[in-house]
Amino acid sequence: MTPKPPQGNAGAALLMRIAELRAWLFLIILVVFFEVWARVAYGASFIFNVYNLQSISVFATAPLLLALGQTFVIISAGIDLSLGFVMGLASVIAAHSANFALDSLGLPPLLAMLCGILSGVIVTFVPGLVNGWLIAQLRVPPFIGTLGMYGVARGAAYLFAGGMTISVTNDWYSGIGNNRYFGVPMLVILTAIACLIMHYLLSQTRFGQHTYAMGASQPAARRAGINIRALTMQIYFLSAIMAGVAGALYTGRFSAGAPQAGEPLLLDSIAAVVIGGASLFGGSGNIAGTIAGALVIAVIQYGLVFIDVEPFWQFIAVGAVIIISVLVDQTQRKFLGGRQVE
């Protein structure tokens, strides 16, 4: 659903093309910047370095998993603020279930792990459906509805965890979070599969096309016969499930369920989607952009530590990229002749 540029304006068309790819452009600029700095200052390569690639890609997985669901939500002109603590809740439940299956039910570690992951994901059905219900049926604005769920999920996560982190001793489970296959971290493989599925859903299915339509103009989408209520439910459901996957994998990686696991990741997930080219007004965005957005954030934060810049610059750098990204988005809109969105 790439918006068509005004005809006969080659310059504008080119600019738009660039604007669409801005996240990848940012990524390339950043990588070149860090590469040059690392070579000059340390005589080392930043990007032609398997170790760095592994570290950065694993670093990006957690915010990216949240951002994948968030992409659908933002394209539909919504926002999901509950993701961080839904992830924490999933992480806690996954840890408890994996421990329970292993210790009390006496299941083998592999099955216990699957129990944990499954329970972690299933528990997110509740916040997902409630979010969807609030927004679709009761017409609560997404910002408020999911903010409420942010609190509820947070409280539930802390209650289930008893205010602590729940440690998990299960080699299978920690393996899924930490092992590598032919040098590729398992987490990256799983996240890549999730990306492919999400990309397919968004670009190849009716569900994805309806999401764009709803974000571009809800009244128009309704008149076109799209069931907005059902669609909204599905979108927030999907978003919560992705947070569940992120939480269940977090538990594997750190061998512990933590209620606050996703709290710092929420804003990173929104930033990744926005840097990736989605508009908070809805109607635009794609999975490839979101992947680039998540990588941009990971590369900045990792790169600045790698080249030994004072840590506070990280915040400034990420903030600056978000602002530039939104400015590019605005300019793009101007070239589209003020395309009206709801």
Partner: protein
């Protein structure tokens, strides 16, 4: 002194009067009740502090009320505090969740005639009974000396890495009094080792994912990194994951802070070289005793610094060390 003698006299009088029903009732009404409001309940650190306070209450035959919020949050702690004040305890032990925002709510307790003792965290500057400022009214501040804790971590880590190499601190965020002090103590002590180079502190926002990526980035630049001090559990845990991913467990020595029971296997398998255990039971015990001594007319110190224990894989089975693990229930 006068009041204490008076109390003694009263006690003696009661004893002389015999152990009849009347003095018994009078004594029940006069019984000293001390409340403990933790930063959050169900946290191993505060649970252990509660145990310490209970032991003290039992030793002197006073009552203990233990009430707190489930989360570290000012707006959750204050209602609990108000409810506790409503019960009119003799004294109040509290771990304030904010240096500034808890001043007024605690002033209310003080104005109601309830003696306030800060445990673990503090209000204002943490220096009390000086006659200056609006937050000097608490009787005393009983807590770990976090600067000292940082120093102990530095000494133990320096020894573990043979007093040479590069180290850094993985910290939560700037502006948190306890973790700032640990970092300060750690850096000051490390200056005494000429062979050790301190690298820039990394702040992880309590995000284990970020702490892991940061240590990996530092290792990428400084392959001969010798050690890291994680100033709290999340920093240490995230850093451990990054070190593991880089295949450097055992080569890079990790020093952690705090000692929940879950740390034991990680000390034994070498994930952590050492951790600095605070003594929360001591904080509870001596905090209670300060409040009790004051209530019975005895002078009390305005600050008590409690100790630390360095735990390693080698000493953790020693009951003298393992008794300092935080209890989970």
């Amino acid at each position: 002194m006068d009041r204490r003698s008076a109390v003694k006299l009263m006690g003696a009088a009661a004893a002389v009067a015999g152990l009849g029903a009347l003095p018994g009732r009078a004594r029940a009404a006069d019984k000293i009740t001390i409340a403990l409001v933790p930063g959050l309940t169900a946290d191993g650190f505060y649970v252990t502090m509660h145990h310490g306070a209970e032991a003290a209450a039992k030793a002197v035959g006073a009552d203990l009320i233990y009430q707190g919020a489930a989360e570290w949050n000012v707006s959750l702690q204050v209602p609990v505090l108000d409810a506790v004040i409503g019960k009119k305890p003799t004294a109040l032990l509290i771990a304030p969740t904010d240096k500034k925002q808890l001043i007024q709510p605690l002033k209310k307790a003080f104005d109601a005639g309830i003696a306030v003792v800060c445990v673990d965290t503090f209000i204002g500057t943490g220096v009390f009974q000086t006659g200056s400022g609006d937050a000097d009214f608490p009787l005393s501040y009983v807590a770990s000396d976090n600067v000292l804790g940082g120093r102990m971590a530095a000494r133990a880590l320096a020894k573990a890495i043979g007093e040479k190499g590069k180290v850094y601190v993985s910290n939560v965020k700037p502006g948190v009094s306890t973790t700032d002090q640990r970092e300060q103590g750690f850096k000051e002590e490390m200056k005494r080792f000429s062979g050790i180079e301190m690298l820039e502190t990394q702040f992880n926002d309590d995000d284990a994912n970020k702490a892991a990526a940061q240590v990996q980035a530092v290792i990428g630049r400084v392959p001969d990194l010798a050690g890291v001090f994680g100033a709290n559990l999340f920093s240490a845990g995230g850093t451990a994951n990054g070190v593991k991913a880089a295949g450097k467990i055992g080569k890079i020595k990790l020093a952690g802070f705090d000692a929940p029971e879950s740390i034991v296997p990680q000390l034994k398998d070498g994930t952590f070289e050492l951790t600095i255990a605070q003594h929360p039971a001591e904080i509870g015990y001596f905090g209670f005793m300060v409040a009790y001594a004051n209530a019975t007319g005895n002078p009390v110190p305005t600050a008590i610094g409690t100790g630390f224990t360095v735990m390693t894989g080698a000493n953790i089975d020693d009951p003298k060390v393992s008794r300092y693990l935080y209890k989970s229930s």
